[in-house]
Amino acid sequence: MPPPPGDLDPQSGRRREPNGDPDGDGRNDPAGDPYLAAARTRLAWTRTALAFAAVGGVILKTSVPAGLAVLATCPLVWAAGRLGGGPDPRAGAGAGPAPFVRRFRLITLTIVVVAVVALVVSVFARGRPA
């Protein structure tokens, strides 16, 4: 049965897929990740992991064990952003809850611990001599 005329794309003349993607392969699917919200969030997690690496590098200059410990958190932070369980941007309002509370609590706790380590290092480690 031919598709109804209303379902044809006026530019390509091809039939529109139900999700609005003219190719039907998902690449141009506006419902897949509208406004690239999920992609931007994944990148934000990656930048946060890089920030942990930068702090680890600074601490490494003065305290190797503490610096290595902070550097070890980088892949964990990066993985936290890659793990599933986040909200699906296709779902819209009324979707299920996003179990991010524990993850965010852990990130906050890690930063506070890193700050305490930095304080201890800055007070007790010998800085650059005159």
Binding site: P87, A93, P99, I107, V121
Partner: protein, 131 residues
Amino acid sequence: MTGPDPSPDGGAAGSAESGETEPDARFTLANQRTFLAWSRTALALVAAGLGIVQLLPPFPGVRWGRHAIGVPLIVLGAVTAAQAYREWTRTQRALRRGSPLPHSILPLLLAATIAIVAAVSAAIALISATR
């Protein structure tokens, strides 16, 4: 008793009793990115404070100068991280209730502390130059 759900993400999703519904996922993701951006700011403050204390040469005549600049930045980093988490939970709760977003004190806190640290840095540089 139908008090507010302390959890911003779980518990009362879509609960008609509490009047809360899970917001659009894009809003949740935007709130998440804001939290991550503040977390990076906190980490940058910690790195800057540690770098000032450990990597800068000491100020001539002002032995405590590096600590006076660096330690407040590290403390501000820890406070920023904790406050970012608090504001993320409050914003998520407001989104779920459809109420106005809460006011953030982080920009004021950050600006005020950086201004004070800048003033202290200028004073230390002047004292150091005169000795």
